[in-house]
C-alpha cells in the first residue's frame, strides 16, 4: 500500500479515476480548482474525457448526457456553481441517473468569499433543485476519507441510480495529508437501463416529462421507496469518545476535526464530552442520536454556519434532551480553544441550572 501526500481536491479526482470515472465536466471556481486541474492532467491517461465547460449549467448537463450512456461521471464546483447545477440535479434524480457531484463549499450567500464554510447544508440535504426528491450526501472528514468516500460514492450512485453529492469545504480541499488509495476498479457491470443505441433490439428513452399526474405520482412513490431503502442501508457516522460521555458534540467535516481537538481539551478539565460525526448528511444518522438522547441530556451542534444541521439534530432528538448551538458563518474557521470554552461554559451553566432546579 503506497502512502501518498496529497491535497483533498486532488484526492477527490484521483479516487474518482480509480473508481472508474471516465468523464469529468467542470467550470473553474475557487476553492476547488485543483480538482479540475488534476482531472485535466490525468483522466485522459486513463482513457477518459475532460471538458472545461462554458458554465456549471453546461457541466451538469454534460454529466446527464454521459450518465445516460452508463458512464461513470463526475462534476465538481463550489457553492455559487452548485446553485447553477440545481436544475440538472433535479433532472438526474427524475431520470434516475447515477453521477457524483462534489461541492467544496465556500462562504456565502452571493459570491461570498473563498474561505471554508458549511452554509450549503440545506441546499444539499433538502433537495436544492425542484421537485420531490432526495439525494445521498456524504461529508468526509480527512483526505483519507475523501479518497474512500469518493470511491464508495460511485457505487452508491450506481446501486440506487441516483446523483450523490460529496460536501467538502475550502479547508479540506486545500489540506495535504498522507493518503492510501483504493486499487483501481476493474471491469464494471453493464448497466442494462443505459442508452447504448437500439442495435437490433427495441429502442429506449429517458424522459422526465410525465404529463399524466397519476403516472407522475407513481414515479414519485417509486422514488420515495428507493429513498426509504437508502435511509435503511446507507447511514454512516463516526462516534468518538461516546461511551462515557455526558455531553455530545455533533459536527461534520472540518468542524468535526476542530471538535475532536476541543473534546480532548475539555476532557483534560474533567468534562466527559464525545462526538457524533455524521458521514452521511442525508440520510442523517437519526437513530444513534435518538438512542443517545435516552441517557445523555446535553447535545451541542457545531457548524460553520448559523445553524443548518442543527435542524436535523432537533428533528432527531425531538425535545428529549437539551440542544445548544455554536457556529461561525461566512468563512470564519473557529479554533478548538473557542469551542472548548463554549463546551465548558455550557456544561457549567447546565450544572448550575440543574443545581437550582
Amino acid at each position: 500500500m503506497n502512502k501518498i501526500f496529497m491535497s483533498g481536491n486532488h484526492a477527490f479526482a484521483e479516487s474518482a479515476i480509480r473508481a472508474g470515472c471516465r468523464c469529468y465536466f467542470g467550470y473553474p471556481i475557487t476553492p476547488q480548482n485543483e480538482l479540475g486541474e488534476y482531472m485535466a492532467a490525468n483522466i485522459r491517461k486513463a482513457g477518459g474525457v475532460f471538458i472545461q465547460s462554458e458554465s456549471e449549467i453546461a457541466a451538469i448537463n454534460m454529466t446527464i448526457g454521459s450518465a445516460a450512456t452508463g458512464t461513470r461521471v463526475m462534476t465538481s464546483s463550489s457553492s455559487p456553481g452548485i446553485s447553477l447545477k440545481q436544475e440538472g440535479l433535479s433532472f438526474l434524480a427524475g431520470f434516475e441517473l447515477p453521477a457524483v457531484i462534489v461541492n467544496v463549499m465556500r462562504g456565502g450567500p452571493g459570491l461570498g468569499n473563498i474561505a471554508p464554510a458549511q452554509g450549503d447544508y440545506f441546499q444539499a440535504t433538502r433537495g436544492g433543485g425542484h421537485g420531490d426528491y432526495r439525494m445521498p450526501v456524504f461529508a468526509p472528514g480527512t483526505v483519507q476519507e475523501i479518497a474512500d468516500i469518493t470511491f464508495l460514492a460511485f457505487d452508491v450512485a450506481d446501486k440506487y441510480r441516483t446523483p450523490v453529492m460529496i460536501l467538502g469545504d475550502g479547508m479540506m480541499g486545500q489540506t495535504k495529508e498522507p493518503v492510501v488509495f483504493p486499487e483501481p476498479i476493474g471491469e464494471l457491470p453493464v448497466k442494462e437501463w443505459a442508452l447504448r443505441s437500439m442495435g437490433d433490439g427495441p429502442s429506449k428513452y429517458l424522459a422526465s416529462l410525465i404529463l399524466d399526474p397519476a403516472a407522475m405520482e407513481r414515479h414519485n412513490w417509486k422514488l420515495y421507496r428507493k429513498y426509504k431503502e437508502i435511509e435503511r442501508n446507507e447511514v454512516r457516522y463516526e462516534s468518538y469518545m461516546i461511551d462515557d460521555a455526558d455531553v455530545v458534540v455533533i459536527a461534520y467535516g472540518t468542524t468535526a476535526r476542530i471538535a475532536k481537538s476541543a473534546i480532548k481539551r475539555v476532557r483534560d478539565d474533567g468534562i466527559r464530552a464525545g462526538l457524533i460525526r455524521p458521514i452521511t448528511l442525508w440520510p442523517f444518522p437519526k437513530q444513534i442520536l435518538q438512542e443517545l438522547a435516552r441517557k445523555i441530556k446535553q447535545f451541542i451542534v457545531f457548524e460553520m454556519s448559523t445553524g443548518q444541521m442543527l435542524e436535523d439534530v432537533q428533528l432527531s432528538i425531538l425535545g428529549k434532551a437539551d440542544i445548544s448551538f455554536y457556529g461561525r458563518p461566512g468563512g470564519v474557521v473557529p479554533t478548538p480553544l473557542e469551542l472548548a470554552r463554549y463546551i465548558y461554559r455550557e456544561c457549567q451553566n447546565k450544572k448550575e441550572l440543574d443545581y437550582e432546579t
Binding site: 468523464c23 448537463n61 443505441s197
Partner: protein
C-alpha cells in the same frame, strides 16, 4: 417523382401525433427517420429531444432518446458523444431552446467542434408555451409578448444564430432550409443528409436550421403559413449553405 407509401423503420407505428395541422415538426421528423434508415444509422443513434413542442419526439422516433432540460440539448449531446464516440448523436431543438436559453451551449458546443448534428427548428415563436416572442421573431411580428409587433426599440432584433456558428472553424456543415413546398422538403432532406454524412465522416459540428410553420401561434391557415415562410420569413433568414467543409467544398 415516385410517391412512397412506406413507414420509415425508425418512426413508431400506431401513434397519434400531437402536432397541429400544418406544423413543420412532423415533416422534419419524417425526414430524420427516413434518413436514419437510408443511411443505416438509426440502430446506433442516440437522439436528444428538447423542452418545446418536440418534447414528445421520442413517442414518434424509434431509436434511443433522452429529453434535455430547456436549452441544454447540446450539453447533453456533448456528454453522450464524448462518452460514446462510436455512436451517431442528434440534438433536435426549437429556436427558444437553442437561441435563447441555450445560446451558451449552442455557441460553445459549436466552438468545440463537437461531432454531432443539430436540427434547429426555427418557427419564429415559442410554440409550446403559447406563442410568445422568440429570439428569431421578426421585426413587427405580433406575438403574445410583443402584442404590438416586435419593436427593435424595446425588443431588439431577430438573432441569426446559425450564421454566427457557421463562421466557427469547428463547424463543418451549416445550412438553412425551409418546409414550405414538396420541392423545399426534398431540399431539406438533402441538407440533413449532408449534415449526417458530415458527422459520420467526423468532420466537425453540423447544424441544419429549418424554417418551419407554426400555424397555431401565427394564427394563419397552413397554406398561408407556407406562403408566409416564402414571402416574409425567408427575407430575414435567407436559405442556403452557410458553411461546407466537406472535401472539395471548403
Amino acid at each position: 417523382m415516385k410517391l412512397k407509401n412506406e413507414w420509415p423503420k425508425h418512426y413508431k407505428r400506431e401513434v397519434i401525433t400531437h402536432y397541429c395541422p400544418g406544423c413543420g415538426h412532423g415533416v422534419v421528423h419524417r425526414i430524420v427517420a427516413e434518413l436514419l434508415e437510408e443511411m443505416d444509422l438509426g440502430k446506433k443513434t442516440i437522439g436528444v429531444n428538447p423542452a418545446g413542442c418536440a418534447v414528445l419526439a421520442y413517442k414518434y422516433f424509434d431509436f434511443d432518446m433522452i429529453e434535455a432540460a430547456h436549452g441544454r440539448g447540446t450539453a447533453l449531446a456533448t456528454g453522450i458523444k464524448r462518452s460514446r464516440p462510436d455512436l451517431f448523436v442528434l440534438s433536435y431543438q426549437g429556436d427558444g431552446d437553442l437561441a435563447a436559453i441555450g445560446t451558451a451551449e449552442t455557441i460553445h458546443s459549436a466552438s468545440r467542434g463537437e461531432l454531432f448534428t443539430v436540427i434547429f427548428i426555427n418557427n419564429a415563436v415559442y410554440g409550446m408555451t403559447g406563442g410568445q416572442m422568440a429570439p428569431t421573431t421578426l421585426k413587427g411580428q405580433k406575438t403574445t409578448t410583443s402584442p404590438d409587433g416586435r419593436n427593435p426599440k424595446y425588443e431588439g432584433y431577430p438573432l441569426h444564430i446559425t450564421d454566427i456558428v457557421a463562421t466557427f472553424p469547428g463547424v463543418a456543415y451549416a445550412e438553412r432550409v425551409a418546409i414550405k413546398s414538396p420541392a423545399s422538403i426534398i431540399k431539406a432532406k438533402k441538407a440533413i443528409k449532408n449534415a449526417f454524412q458530415t458527422q459520420v465522416d467526423g468532420l466537425g459540428y453540423s447544424i441544419i436550421e429549418v424554417l418551419s410553420a407554426c400555424p397555431t401561434n401565427w394564427k394563419m391557415s397552413p397554406v398561408d403559413s407556407m406562403k408566409w415562410i416564402n414571402d416574409v420569413l425567408e427575407k430575414e433568414f435567407p436559405l442556403g449553405v452557410l458553411t461546407d467543409k466537406r472535401k472539395g467544398n471548403s
